[in-house]
Symmetry: C2
Subunit: 146 residues, 2 copies
DNA sequence: TATTGTTATACTCTATAACTATA
DNA sequence: TATAGTTATAGAGTATAACAATA
């Protein structure tokens, strides 16, 4: 009964194609703010008022901890984030946005929020349907395969 | 009349979220084949039997030509692609997959074709609808804004 | 002993600028 | 003079291994 997945495969193929199309513009978008794509991603992952442990960041980025040290060094030296010793576990360091970091994060989010033309051109019905389906996709994450 | 775009904005926001979720797994997927993400992308962009000029590759990747030289060096030294002098314009070099390159490209594509669980769990109706909408999105690309 | 983050090292990715060969 | 690709160089991203401080 393996042919059940054929539509999921096709959807995935199209999503990948769309990803790669969109991806090309990301480095130059980040560069508008003198950020690298990776730095831009980190800035987005640290939410205002929600300190994030460095180890947790490494996990989310699926990269080595030593890599996070460098990323954080550069963002910290630009005054966008701050390392703070954790009170519970003194081995840990948590990351916080500085006021400048909060502002830049919001500016980038604003710049990034404008959808590509090709999405805007969908009919209203399609747009609503797409939103509904994508919500399902993102909700499905935590559930078990059963 | 600016609120017309609100659904497109929401869809775009969800798509971005999905991108970033999926993106984390890409480097390790490429690493299964001892490829970097960028090398993997290049391998995908060169289609079997369809020589591609280096300049065109740089354009598609939105990166500098000097960067392509290095990428191609590494893939060529692994015997996956080949530089060939263009017959029309002797300044140009076109890229071709070697037989090993064709095989690896197919293996990677096969590995990449398996959709994430969260997509497979959509209902059949939603899957079909998603395919239809994404086809529209990708078709819209070339049209003018009017 | 195990874990968190850092340092040292090495390789890849990326851009800029200067260069070579062709057009 | 302009274009396609290369080289030299430098900074950023990435992983591995060895290390310090803390648990």
């Amino acid at each position: 009964m393996k042919s059940t997945n054929s539509d999921a495969c096709e959807a995935w193929k199209l999503l990948l194609k769309f990803f790669f199309t969109q991806r090309a513009g990301f480095p130059s978008l980040a560069a508008e703010f003198e950020l690298s794509p990776a730095q831009c991603h980190v800035l987005h992952l640290i939410e205002p008022g929600r300190p994030l442990a460095m180890g947790h960041l490494a996990e989310t980025l699926s990269c080595d901890a030593s890599n996070v040290t460098g990323l954080v060094d550069r963002l910290e030296s630009r005054g966008l984030i701050r390392r703070q010793a954790s009170s519970e576990d003194r081995r840990q360091k948590v990351l916080e946005l500085t006021p400048a970091g909060v502002r830049l994060r919001a500016t980038v989010a604003e710049r990034l929020s404008n959808p590509p033309e090709t999405l805007k051109r969908l009919s209203e019905t399609e747009q609503k349907m797409l939103v509904k389906i994508l919500r399902h996709v993102l909700q499905n994450k935590a559930e078990t395969t059963k």
